[in-house]
Symmetry: C2
Subunit: 231 residues, 2 copies
Amino acid sequence: MPSRRDLTLVAADVGLKAPKKKAPPPRTRMTGKERREQLLDVGRSLFAEKGYEGTSVEEIASRAGVSKPVVYEHFGGKEGLYAVVVDREVSRMLGTVTEGLSGGTARELLEQAAMALLSYVENDSDGFRILVRDSPVASASGTFASLISDIAGQVEHILGREFKTRGFDPQLAPMYSQMLVGMVALTGQWWLDAQKPDREVVAAHLVNLAWNGLSGMEARPRLSSDKRDRT
Amino acid sequence: MPSRRDLTLVAADVGLKAPKKKAPPPRTRMTGKERREQLLDVGRSLFAEKGYEGTSVEEIASRAGVSKPVVYEHFGGKEGLYAVVVDREVSRMLGTVTEGLSGGTARELLEQAAMALLSYVENDSDGFRILVRDSPVASASGTFASLISDIAGQVEHILGREFKTRGFDPQLAPMYSQMLVGMVALTGQWWLDAQKPDREVVAAHLVNLAWNGLSGMEARPRLSSDKRDRT
DNA sequence: GCCGTAGGTTACGCTCGCGTAGGTAGCAGC
DNA sequence: GCTGCTACCTACGCGAGCGTAACCTACGGC
């Protein structure tokens, strides 16, 4: 038996790789941390593309240029990896949004939130896709609650406060949170597909509907932070 | 047709034990049509509960009190069954909504649509759950488009017309469709979970936000068709 | 009463994908 | 140069689940 394993490193990249879109993995040796991050990246991308169940551990490993046990070494399994990916993505999204809020009037806050959220969608579209999809077992087990629905729960508090000062029943905040989040979420998905209008334009229209309602909609809405003239 | 069939029919309706989880299979013999309908019912319920991939053909068959090949006989496979279930559900939903529209002002149409949609959610919650979930391979293949997003496309036309008469750019109709549909869809999901307010109340608030916007919201909105006093 | 057919069954083959056992290559540090 | 640790590998066990082949059975027509 030839024990010169380093040759396999050379031979590997020409290898009989999986179907189509495959780049020759350089088969590098990384530190634990590096590999872990890389696996998270690869996993995020694949989960976004094919969903949790549609993604196999083997594919993740192969895309990362390693073999399955490496994944199990780091995350204990598919669900472990997924959990970390989702957790990171949730906080990344919430971070992006809360960071984007600089205060001001309610209307301004709304605009800022819309812009921040669309930024997240644009910059981290894979993450957004994952959040929008239903979770692996969560949706199967017992009550039906998507990740976004959970996230909408986070909005309750902000909205609840605003409701109170405006004299509305704060008990209704959850419901309105769902409405607003649903509005943004589906629009975000649609926007990802047909990337037609710029982020600012989408945000302006989003705010237009949410703030003015159908009855008071402006034909060419603009964000208050925006100086340009747009459709 | 006078027949001993009747006996099996009597036994058959015992087989329509949709609500509960498991029961000893009564092992009835049905006609092709009956079995087909039953399988569709069972399939709908299971797909709603566990999603497409989470549901096995075996489980469908067993829940219907038959063996697997029966399913293949009728639908050619899991995907075939799913396709029929989805197709029926889409048209059932669209039917419910369009039926609920009796015309009038834009505002009235909106109210009617909201009420009709919530009726659908209430009466056919399994179907709604399926529509809200992502499709089997559709989401995996190429571009990302959920069923609801497709449905939102149907709304474009109605909205487009309204936009034209109101002097808005009808090119923007798709975007606003997504917003409105997303709003209703997520609210519907949330409502299924915590069945808190009555349908009329949810509809009233839905219309409140969609029509008046956050800036002009009423604290205790009512549908114009509603005579009662509500929160 | 016989028999065709609709409705159904049991029993398999096969693939995919999860998770694991057990071994190998390089890079410390003494 | 041996020891040992970290990163990584090949190779398998195994169950779930799709789909099929082949056989069974009761009912209703003639």
